[in-house]
């Protein structure tokens, strides 16, 4: 609680944490929007979401090592992950699309462990980061400092999200995806190849995760085990915001980023992951009691 007092004594510190949280939140929003997309269209909760983020980070890292600026690595990581997502759908995911929900959760959890362990086996457990070479922005006479890369990645995250939404609204495939989300059976009757739509959805999700992972590699770090927290964050954001609610996802993600940063500062960094998972449980249980109360009003 030492740190809590510090917050009150030095208000710019709160501003610093708030800004950091908002800037990281946009990256969460990207992965969460992908999860909502897959959930809404295919009915699968993709537990391997965080691993796709992690692999996007590795893609950006290796491009950076090859001499490509990480910011250019973002679209490349998205394309690579798009291909990976397509491959995963064609080999594993399509087999569990119409199965019991638990089977699909368990299958994607298996995928998550598999991808995580493969990454560990090939690249080792070292913590890596892709240096962007941007400087630091100093505000309020040194009281608040922001790495410029965080601002850049915030903008890039919003741009990627906007591009995805534009694709869903305007393109032929995007319309097919939205139609399938509304009613898969009717879409099939109207001649939409829903299997192809599912493959596109999963691949698009992987691509958007890849982009967000590349941003994570630039602003933060990547290592093989960072996947599950991203999955859980995405899940939390989606259940707070609801499916198909873009602004809700963004607001929830920014809120989560801020809450997490404050918790990390007040409780200490070693409890930050515990906070994320604990918050998940609290939100789920709170949601249940809230729904039960709603139900009583209806009755």
């Amino acid at each position: 609680m030492e740190n809590l007092r510090l917050l009150f004594e030095a208000p710019p510190l709160s501003l610093q944490i708030l800004l950091d949280g908002i800037l990281i939140g946009a990256i969460f929003a990207l992965a969460a929007y992908g999860m909502a997309l897959v959930w809404g269209v295919t009915g699968i909760i993709n537990v391997a979401q965080g691993e796709l983020v992690m692999l996007g980070g590795y893609a950006a890292y290796f491009l950076y090592r090859a001499g490509i600026h990480p910011l250019l690595g973002v679209p490349v990581a998205a394309v690579l992950l798009f291909l990976l997502g397509w491959g995963l759908y064609r080999t594993v995911v399509f087999r569990v699309v119409d199965k019991d929900l638990f089977i699909s959760i368990l299958a994607t959890y298996g995928l998550s462990i598999l991808l995580q362990q493969l990454t560990n086996a090939f690249f080792g457990a070292d913590v890596r980061t892709a240096e962007s070479g941007f400087g630091t922005l100093v505000l309020l006479g040194g009281a608040v400092t922001i790495a410029k890369i965080k601002l850049v990645s915030f903008a890039a995250a919003l741009l990627s999200g906007a591009a995805l939404i534009l694709f869903l609204k305007r393109s032929r495939m995007g319309q097919a995806i939205r139609a399938t989300a509304q009613n898969a059976r009717a879409a099939r009757v109207m001649g939409i190849d829903t299997d192809r739509v599912y493959a596109w959805t999963f691949a698009l999700n992987a691509a958007i995760c890849g982009a967000s992972g590349a941003l994570v590699a630039m602003t933060w770090i990547v290592h093989p085990y960072l996947g599950l927290p991203y999955t859980v964050r995405s899940f939390m954001i989606v259940i707070i915001a609801g499916l198909g609610n873009v602004l809700g996802v963004l607001a929830a993600a920014l809120g989560l980023g801020v809450a997490e940063n404050f918790a990390g500062f007040i409780l200490g960094a070693e409890y930050q992951t515990a906070f994320v998972f604990g918050l998940l449980v609290v939100i789920l249980v709170w949601r249940r009691f809230w729904l039960a109360r709603e139900r009583r009003y209806l009755a």
Partner: protein, 329 residues
């Protein structure tokens, strides 16, 4: 309940004899063999919720870890003889795990389907991360239980038979529970919870009880495993969601969930496979396990007994119709 005939007793008797004489066959592998019984308890207690009640938990490992830490803390802080401290610790571990299940049960068991699955996953990992930051129990570097006082080779035998005894204790208790009103109630919850509630079943009461039973055995086992391994670590051993936590689920599914013998069979097959992976795929065993999860879940979701029941329906004649294994909630 009618008395079991000679044919029904043959299998348990064979397993019992196998368990008693197993360490004599290959004394060098007693620790690995002890894990066979640990795995059987994992699969059986998971199936109590996942298979029989339809609540697929990824967080049962929580109770295992709570039991393990409670036992080792008691062994460290209560100054009694080795055995008294160990058994007191095991008892306290089981009691604490049951209490935790009762406490969180009323909140978490209200979640349905995938919300429950992901919520329990969250609580398992939250426990691991929280413990890793808690200095009283050694933080991230874990704890070491006291040394076994007996002769050099006696330690493995002692813990082997302790694990075996817990497994042997778990099985008939679950069998007895499934045979009575309790079993019918939790099966009704699995098949249609709203209907069961409308019929006047106190579903929350049954669900919490089931979780407490599961937690009791896991907590008991936790203390033993902590001592068997001689080391307690929050992320890799006590609250190991991505190994023990998933294996529980996998073993029950592999054997055939919702049956009594399925989890036992699945645990045995899985344990042997896993040991072979560790022996022959050094460095790649975790990759192989991830692949195994995907393959089993995707291609073999009904398990060995489910497959056998389809193949030879006359051998499983007592069941009139299959509960819907696919589809569901």
């Amino acid at each position: 309940m009618k008395l079991p005939g000679a044919r029904q007793l043959a299998l348990p008797a064979a397993v019992l004899a196998f368990g008693i004489f197993l360490p004599l066959l290959a004394p060098a592998y007693r620790t690995q063999m002890a894990f066979l019984w640990v795995m059987i308890v994992f699969a059986l207690t998971w199936d109590l919720l996942g298979g029989q009640m339809g609540y697929n938990s990824f967080g049962n490992v929580l109770f295992f870890g709570v039991g393990m830490y409670a036992c080792v803390v008691i062994q460290r802080d209560v100054h009694l003889g080795y055995y008294s401290a160990l058994f007191l610790g095991m008892g306290a571990g089981a009691a604490l795990a049951t209490a935790v299940a009762a406490l969180i049960g009323s909140g978490l068991l209200g979640l349905r389907g995938h919300y429950f699955a992901i919520g329990t996953l969250g609580i398992g990992i939250a426990a691991a991360e929280f413990t890793a930051g808690w200095d009283f129990v050694g933080g991230g570097s874990g704890m070491v239980p006291p040394l076994y006082p007996g002769a050099v080779g006696a330690r493995e035998s002692f813990f082997y038979y302790l694990c075996f005894a817990i497994a042997v204790f778990t099985f008939p208790v679950l069998r007895f529970l499934y045979a009575g009103r309790f079993g019918l109630a939790i099966n009704a919850i699995r098949d249609d919870e709203d209907k069961a509630e409308a019929m006047g079943l106190r579903t929350t009461h049954y669900k919490t009880t089931a979780w407490c039973v599961s937690a009791f055995f896991l907590g008991l086992m936790g203390g033993v495993v902590g001592n068997l391994l001689g080391f307690v670590d929050p992320r890799e051993i006590a609250f190991a969601s991505s190994t023990y936590g998933v294996w529980m689920v996998l073993m029950a599914i592999l054997g055939g969930k919702g049956t009594l013998w399925g989890p036992v069979l699945g645990a045995a097959v899985f344990d042997v496979t896993q040991e072979l992976f560790w022996k022959y795929l050094l460095g790649w065993q975790r990759v192989a396990l991830g692949l195994l999860i995907v393959v089993i879940v995707v291609f073999f979701p009904r398990g060995i007994l489910g497959w056998a029941r389809e193949r030879w329906p006359e051998r499983f004649g007592q069941r009139a119709e299959e509960p819907a294994a696919e589809g569901g909630t």
